[in-house]
Every structure is written in C-alpha cells, then in structure tokens.
C-alpha cells in the first residue's frame, strides 16, 4: 500500500531534481520560473528562482505580471503539492525527515513573515537580501562555485554555510523544518492550497479517528481533521497510512460543494 504512493512521488522529485540540474546539457537559462525553491545561480539551473526573481523585480520597480501569472498557475494547479512532489530543496528536507514532530501553528506562520520580509528588504535595501541567506543558494550555488573556483571562503560564503548548517540541523530535528516554518516559496504556494486542483480529501463517514495519518504526516498536521491546512504538501503519506481509506489524494477538476 505504502509503496504505491511513494514511487510516483519519488519520480516527481527526481523530475524536479532533473529540471533543476538540466543545465549540464548546456541549454542555458530558459524563460521558465521554477515551481519551487531552486537557486537560479546554480551553475546547472535552467529555470529562474521565483523568490530571487521577485526580489529583483521589486528592486527594479517592475510590476511582476509574468511572475504573478506563473505563480498563480502553479498554485492553482497543485498548491503546496509542488513542495511535496517536485521541489529539490523539499527533497533534501525529505531525506532528513527522521522526526515527524507536531507542527506549532503560530510558528508555522513565520514563513509568511519571511516572505513579507524578503519583499520588504528587497525594496528597502535595493538588494537581494534573502538570496544572501538562502540555504538553497548555499547548497546549489555557493558550494558548486567554490568547487569551480569562482567563489572563495569569505564572509558571505561562511554566512551561507551557517544558514545551511542551521537549516540542516532543523531538518533533522523536525521533519520538513524549512518547508514548515521558513520557506517563502512554500508561503506563496500555501496561499493557493485551499483552491488548488490537487486536493487531499477526507470521507468523514469512513474516518475512525485513529490518528495514524497524523503520526505519518511529515508536516505535523492532522489531515483527518484539517485536510485543507495551508501546510499540507499533499505528499500522500497520510493516505497510505489510513487503514480505512478515508483519505484520498487526487485532482479535482469539477466544481465541488
């Protein structure tokens, strides 16, 4: 039962990783905005990081029509499903998800503050402040460029390594730590979670309230009670854990009451 869900998700995550590193083919940067957190400064990136891009657009004073359209499209399609099924940094979170602690709702709102702070800092300082701290950039740009001889071990590099180390420790202590509490891209997609076509559904008549789904949820929510939670990354672990098949994950293209 469990393997049925894991396999397609691993394929999705592999596809996200493949797209993230497709630059090894030499095709160069495309016009595509990545539906997750993936640094465009990565030597092999072929897509633009939505958070890096929007900071630049804020600095330029450009009203980001194209960016809004792309983010809204991703959000409408799957909401935070991209966090669970596609985002390479989410995959790193998954690899270190040993401890599935319960989420603390007030703290989980911190990612919205990170998103707001990212935009405010870009505007106030006319600089991509978040990128200088982003652990995804640490992993995908700072370390590769150090190996390529472009970057050096200097203060910005050490700051990057510090944020990466802190985030990795957080991921080990709390499953999906970055996705739960800090990811600004997760915050953006979370806005669309309740209206996205990829949905987690619960049949309350079949639910026995056993709590298995809550035990398995890497985001620490209670899917049988709050399947519309903005933190739900739609990974489907709860669906596999449900003994009474009360939970299901699927596309909802029709109008739903």
């Amino acid at each position: 039962m469990r393997t049925r869900r894991i396999r397609p998700r691993r394929f999705g995550q592999a596809a996200g990783l493949l797209l993230g590193l497709f630059g090894v083919t030499g095709i160069g940067m495309t016009h595509l905005i990545f539906p997750g957190l993936h640094c465009y400064a990565c030597p092999w990136a072929v897509t633009v990081c939505p958070i890096g891009l929007v900071q630049n657009l804020v600095i330029f004073g450009t009203v980001p029509f194209f960016w809004i359209g792309a983010i809204a499209a991703y959000g409408l399609l799957a909401g935070r499903g991209f966090c669970g099924w596609f985002c390479p940094f989410g995959t790193v979170n998954d690899l270190l998800a040993f401890r599935k602690a319960r989420i603390r709702p007030p703290v989980s709102l911190a990612k919205f503050a990170v998103l707001a702070g990212t935009l405010v800092a870009a505007w106030a300082f006319a600089d991509t402040i978040f990128c200088k701290l982003c652990p995804a950039a640490s992993l995908e740009a700072s370390i590769p460029y150090l190996l390529l001889g472009v970057a050096k071990v200097n203060r910005p590099f050490l700051v990057h390594m510090g944020t990466l180390a802190a985030t990795l420790v957080g991921m080990v202590v709390i499953a999906r730590f970055w996705c739960r509490y800090l990811c600004p891209m997760g915050a953006l997609l979370a806005l669309f979670n309740r209206v996205s076509f990829l949905r987690l559904r619960v049949r309350s008549d079949a639910c026995t309230d056993c709590g298995n789904c809550s035990q398995e949820c890497p985001m620490g929510i209670e899917p049988h009670r709050d399947h519309d939670n903005h933190n739900c990354i739609k990974c489907g672990d709860c669906v596999d854990a449900c003994p009474s098949s009360a939970l299901s994950l699927g596309w909802e293209w029709r109008r739903m009451r």
């Binding site: 890096g52 630049n56 450009t62 194209f66 505007w123 600089d127 990128c131």
Partner: protein, 343 residues
C-alpha cells in the same frame, strides 16, 4: 481567523511602508554654515557633494529657501555625478539693500534623482544656513540685543515626489492576497476563487509576455552578479590604490586594453569599474571600455565571459591574452597580476 487576517494586514502594511523607503545617495556639506553679510553685500559659500553609493545621481539642482531679502546666484545643475565621484558648487549669496539687520535662518535645498533598474526616485535633501545681516557701522555687539526679525523657518518636505508605479506592486499584492486567502477560504467560494485565479494566470502571463517580462526573467537568471547571491561582498566605497600598486602602474611599459563586463543592477560592478578607472588614471598605458552584458550578450559570449552557462559579472578581461578575472575580491592585486604589473 483573526491571526491570519492580522497577518495579511501586516504583510500589506509592511510592503506599503517599504514603498516609502528611499535612501539619499548624495552627501552634501556646506562651508561655511554660518555667514555674515551687510545689506547690499554678498559672500560666497561652497557646497561639496559626495556620491558614496554605487548609483549614479542625475539632475542635481540647488534651490535657496529663506528671506526674500536674500538671494543666491544661479547654479548650473549637475547632470550626472557618477558612483564614488564628487562635485562642488561655489555659490554667491547676496543681501538686498533693505535687508533687515539680524540673524536669518535659511536653507539650501538639493534635488536630484537616481534610478535602481527601471525605478527612479527623486530625493530632496537640504542643509540649514545661518545668515547674519550686520549693520555696516556697529555690527556684532548689537545683534544679541535685537529681536530676530527673520521669518520662521519654512518647513520643507523631504519626501520624494510620488511615483504612481511605486504603489502598483503593494496594491496588486494586497488584491492577490485578499482574493486568494479570503475568497478561497469561504465555503462554496472555491469555484469563484479558481475562476479569478485563472483570469489572473491568463492575464498575468499574457500581459507579462507582451511586456517581455519573460525575457527579463531569463536575463536575470542568465547573468550572475557575484555579490547578489552572496558569493562575495559588495563594496560601496571608492577604491583607493595602494602605494605599491601606484608604483607598479607607473612602471608599466606595455599597452594593456581591458574590458569590464557589468550589469546595471549588479552591486559589485561599480567597484570593479571604479578600480579599473583608477588604474587607467594612474597609467596612460591602460585603456578600458565597459560592456553591459544585457545589451551585448554576444560580446560576452565572444570573449568567453561565461562560466558553467552563466555570464558572471563583474568580469574584467585583458583583450590580448583573453584572461578574465571575476568579481571584486582582492581586486587590486588580481588586476595587477592580470595586466602583468604585479610587484
């Protein structure tokens, strides 16, 4: 839920507040700040302007705010003050024949603009002046006994002029957040929210593509500014050459042609440009030119300013050997090595 509404409101307020954040980039110093004049007389005042930022200041103008009995000689506007550069005005302040005796508060008001990408700000700055109008016969000792006849200081708004586009982004963010969070939360409102988002997707992508924003996105992704993602630290001060570098440059015998590749939004680039300019100022054997990689991507490709598929800026190229150095870390030493003038 109240916390979520507060959060949305807080985000909108924060973004709105940020929209008002504009930093002055020029420093003005006025000497002397206290002047003494007799009715019908005049005196000079020097305004020194320092641009200690990486941005170019444009259309710098000065205006005089003060008593009608005082006037200032016309000062030609300065069209451009480049990053790290300085400029000065020598102004003549005159008092009318019937200027009242006493201390008058006045103010020099400076207006200029600077741009960050497509977004330009107008900054109004000012410095106070204390102007003492003295009677020709018995000047100083009587001043303290006389009431101050000068009008109260006119409050001058330092707020930059409004740019309607500045509010477009906060407004759109507010509408988007309100639509998705509030409509999406309402029971039965999901279809309406989806319809609204579909309109946003189609409209945003279509209008964005029409404005060529997809190309802008690609350009931002394709050019890597070393300080923007924290590969190195941007330096916002004017470069000062060491004595060893000056000596090495004075001994340079062969001609060196350099090209500095930059992007207008790159934070490290002005320092690299200024350093190469300082080299060229010290040695007439060095010539250089600047290439904006956004305008001339083919030139960057031709000279190999590409590392792992990214155009990295700032990059300094020595034409005859094709050697390139990236970034600004330890730039003086690396530049000396590049031109073959390392001590």
């Amino acid at each position: 839920m109240i916390p979520r509404r507060i959060l949305v409101a807080a985000i909108v307020v924060l973004i709105g507040l940020a929209a008002t954040a504009q930093e002055p980039i020029l420093r003005f110093s006025v000497a002397p700040e206290s002047l003494a004049l007799t009715p019908g007389g005049s005196t000079s005042v020097t305004v020194r302007i320092e641009n200690d930022s990486i941005r170019e200041a444009d259309d710098v103008e000065v205006a005089f705010e003060g008593s009608d009995a005082l006037s200032i000689s016309p000062a030609a506007p300065i069209s451009v003050i480049p990053p790290f550069d300085t400029a000065r005005w020598d102004l003549e302040i005159s008092a009318a024949n019937d200027a009242p005796i006493g201390v008058s508060k006045a103010r020099l008001e400076f207006i200029y603009t600077y741009c960050v990408g497509d977004l330009c700000f107008q900054i109004v700055d000012g410095r106070p002046l204390e102007i003492r109008i003295e009677a020709p016969a018995a000047p100083a000792e009587l001043d303290s006994e006389r009431p101050d006849p000068s009008p109260p200081e006119t409050p001058v708004s330092a707020a930059p002029s409004s740019n309607p586009w500045r509010w477009a982004l906060p407004l759109m963010a507010a509408i988007l957040l309100a639509a998705v969070v509030l409509i999406g939360r309402a029971a039965g409102g999901r279809s309406a929210a989806r319809a609204l988002i579909v309109v946003g997707v189609i409209g945003g992508l279509a209008y964005g593509v029409a404005l060529r924003q997809h190309e802008q996105a690609q350009g931002i992704g394709a050019v890597l500014c070393t300080s923007c993602v924290g590969i190195e630290e941007a330096r916002h001060e004017a470069p000062r050459l060491s004595a060893a570098a000056i000596d090495a440059l004075s001994r340079l015998e062969e001609h060196r042609e350099l090209v500095v590749f930059y992007a207008p939004w790159c934070h490290s680039c002005p320092y690299a440009e200024a350093m190469v300019e300082a080299f060229a100022d010290r040695s007439d054997r060095i010539t250089y030119r600047l290439v904006n990689v956004e305008d001339e991507p083919e030139t960057a490709k031709e000279f190999g300013i590409i590392q792992s598929g990214r155009t990295i800026v700032p990059a300094t190229l020595r034409i005859d050997t094709g050697e390139v150095i990236f970034g600004i870390d330890d730039l003086e030493r690396r530049l000396l090595t590049l031109i073959g003038g390392a001590p």
